[in-house]
Symmetry: C2
């Protein structure tokens, strides 16, 4: 089936609006004979009856989305429900067969190499397919079988290093093209409507620091510090000392240089190592956007690290992409973008806290904020796409477009969540009575 977890950007990838012209109002999809010239084909072989039959069966199994499918020879499968939201264009037989046999990963690859295109408002096209699959009993069953046979990846310290290199060491210059000036590669917080990406990322940092109730002179352990933006902000604005762990060499170097340039080197120690090797006691623990890479089987170990590290009145905050119910990451993103990544459900996250009787004080779901963050990243990415093409190649540009745009759609549609979980020791009574301090009155 088509990937339920990705989508294509509407403005950018809307190749052309080409309304469907035939098809019944209700019932099953109908197939029209090939029409020469309807599609710019790479392979002139006509589609076979078998191929069209399989495609029909496949669309039915996907819950009959209101999507028209065009094949390389102009053959058209018109959906039962009219009008169609848009078109999926399959430009060669091999792509069709890959979609039929390994739809989850094949969709993203075909989009990346240009053998699959979308016509119409692409996020709408994708949302239509996604909702149809979600509501199709067969699709749901297929999904369960697929999930069951996917094996979990092991997250030994060595394999974590490899994973982190694959994504985060692409090069700071690349990320600088489309992230905000603090290089925050996690969900921003749009506390006020109309915030820019820079404003929303700053608001996120303050939202986290307010939740942690940081006081000058306190110590903070940060697991997975990215380019160090939060560590620098905590040290600079909240007067705390930070020990920040990260496996990415490029990110740590960047963070150290920034700390030195801002005279904060004595307040922040950036450690190029696994968070599991952290020692010492801290007033706060914070981890923004790392849990997705930790792996379920290491959640209790993460809890143990935090339990070892926190002072009796210490507070902790974990900010992570999550799910409403357990489900593996879509295979394409897992294969091409984040090997080994897994967004947990809240129930799964509790394996960090419950074995150590941590008291969860506050959970906030920022799903819509991540959709907005990704929209702003995508907009900047597209604005710099010619530079990205020079740095890498066209396939890389399309792959990242697929990933960013697909993520926008997934957060919009409720396929992924963003949880901020605030916690403390079960015995700690030094906790705020309300959350009003998170919402200071604007002056």
């Amino acid at each position: 089936m088509l990937k339920p977890d990705t989508a294509l950007p509407d403005q950018i990838e809307a190749v052309e609006q080409q309304p469907a012209t035939s098809g019944a109002q209700t019932g099953h999809p109908t197939t029209d004979a090939p029409r020469a010239g309807a599609v710019s084909a790479r392979d002139q072989r006509p589609s076979s009856k078998l191929e069209r039959w399989f495609l029909n069966w496949f669309l039915t199994a996907c819950g009959d989305p209101a999507i028209r499918v065009l094949l390389w020879d102009g053959a058209t499968v018109t959906p039962a429900r009219q009008p169609p939201v848009g078109d999926v264009v399959i430009r060669e037989p091999a792509t069709l067969w890959r979609l039929l046999l390994d739809s989850d990963a094949a969709f993203g690859d075909a989009f990346s190499d240009g053998t699959l295109e979308i016509r119409g408002v692409v996020v709408d096209v994708f949302a239509e397919i996604w909702r149809a699959i979600r509501n199709a009993p067969v699709g749901g069953l297929l999904g369960k079988v697929l999930s069951a046979i996917r094996r979990r990846r092991s997250h030994s310290i060595t394999s974590s290093r490899r994973t982190i290199h694959q994504h985060y060491d692409i090069g700071n210059e690349f990320y600088r093209l489309w992230l905000d000036d603090r290089m925050q590669y996690t969900c921003a917080y749009y506390g006020q409507p109309g915030m820019t990406l820079e404003q929303a990322q700053l608001a996120k940092l303050d939202h986290v620091c307010r939740k942690l109730q940081l006081q000058p002179g306190q110590t903070v352990l940060e697991a997975g510090c990215g380019w160090g933006g939060l560590a620098l902000h905590m040290a600079d604005r909240y007067g705390v000392s930070v020990r920040a762990f990260n496996l990415s060499h490029e990110q740590i170097e960047f963070a150290r240089q920034n700390a030195a340039a801002r005279g904060l080197s004595r307040q922040i120690e950036f450690v190029e190592d696994d968070y599991r090797n952290a020692s010492g006691k801290y007033d706060a623990f914070v981890s923004i956007g790392m849990l997705e890479h930790v792996g379920l089987e290491n959640f209790t170990e993460l809890g143990r690290v935090i339990d070892r590290a926190l002072t009796p009145a210490g507070r902790g905050l974990i900010h992570s992409i999550g799910r409403n119910a357990p489900q593996p990451l879509d295979p394409w993103t897992e294969k091409r973008i984040f090997p080994g990544a897994y967004p947990p459900s809240l129930k799964q996250m509790m394996d960090i806290f419950e074995p150590f009787r941590f008291s969860v004080l506050d959970v906030e779901n920022l799903r819509l904020h991540y959709a907005r963050t990704l929209e702003q990243w995508l907009e900047r990415f597209e604005g710099s796409s010619s530079k990205v093409r020079e740095m890498f190649d066209e396939r890389f540009v399309r792959m990242w477009r697929m990933y960013l745009a697909g993520s926008v759609a997934t957060f919009r549609i409720g396929g992924l969540q963003l949880f901020q979980v605030l916690f403390t020791r079960g015995s700690n009574n030094d906790i705020p009575w309300t959350r009003e301090h998170l919402y200071p009155v604007p002056r």
Copy 2:
């Protein structure tokens, strides 16, 4: 071991401050010979060497709390750590043996019938015992074994009716003596310091209604409505129509009379039935203080009822006593106060939401608020204790004192939590961007 989940009120039950006079600074407890007249004894038989040996062993197994134990004949077990926080007085051999053999339930019963007394600041005494047990490896192991052999109660609709009668149908007049004027028998919300019970219960109702974002004309399903205070408030102040379920005949009658008196009978339907029999579609689902009585094995069924009842953009809120990690309710409270009750952990609560892919938007832990609520209930209860004694008897007064004061201590010490979980359908995008609307600026 002594019950870890209850305590005795400090002002009320502090019989007399009687500092301990002997005992080593470190090491094991020491036992002094009986001294005539030290304790007002009901049984003049001297304590045996075996009894004193068992008591010593028992205190060691409980982690050696800094508590002095006095027996009926004046024999004293002085703790190793000095000075002791207070005394536990055991007034007859049968009580000692019951404590040694079935400590969990026997403690509350012995306190209720007056054969066990506390001398000193009683909440401090209890907290000391509780912390010692929590930190004792043997106590922890004993606790686990005890938990394992306790069987779960079944919550068929019939048994639910029995349970509800046992507690809630004691009589509205009794509850009226110490609850607020809206008869809220759940955790209040102290949004501002120094709030009275009435103010804090009103603030709780508004906090819940703001979380649910109720709009005039909307419909609400309430499961477990108590005396109808929330339903009346929602209908009156937020202009919604409410269908409210409760199994307690006395409560439903009270609620109906109140609705009629305030001209709200057409806006609220109070149904004397199980929430599982609810039909229809609603813009909001709310349940305050019912989940504790639902039973783990019915959580998914509760989720199904909500899934059946909510409109596509519907919101739900569940307010429940909970735990940091799974643990049965203490046996005395379960036996004498709330048969079949079970406060779930957050992980366990997720069995309501995850099977239906509900999206958890917000979790708030109001533990300290419940400690404060219980303090205010206890204060009013003690102020009316002579009336309660007339209505029932002395044992009933002591039993409710044990329950209320024990609950204060348990919430204070972090043994119980209060979770408010706000959720909606996974596909609903009509959700607020921030939680700022929960914290209106005071005029």
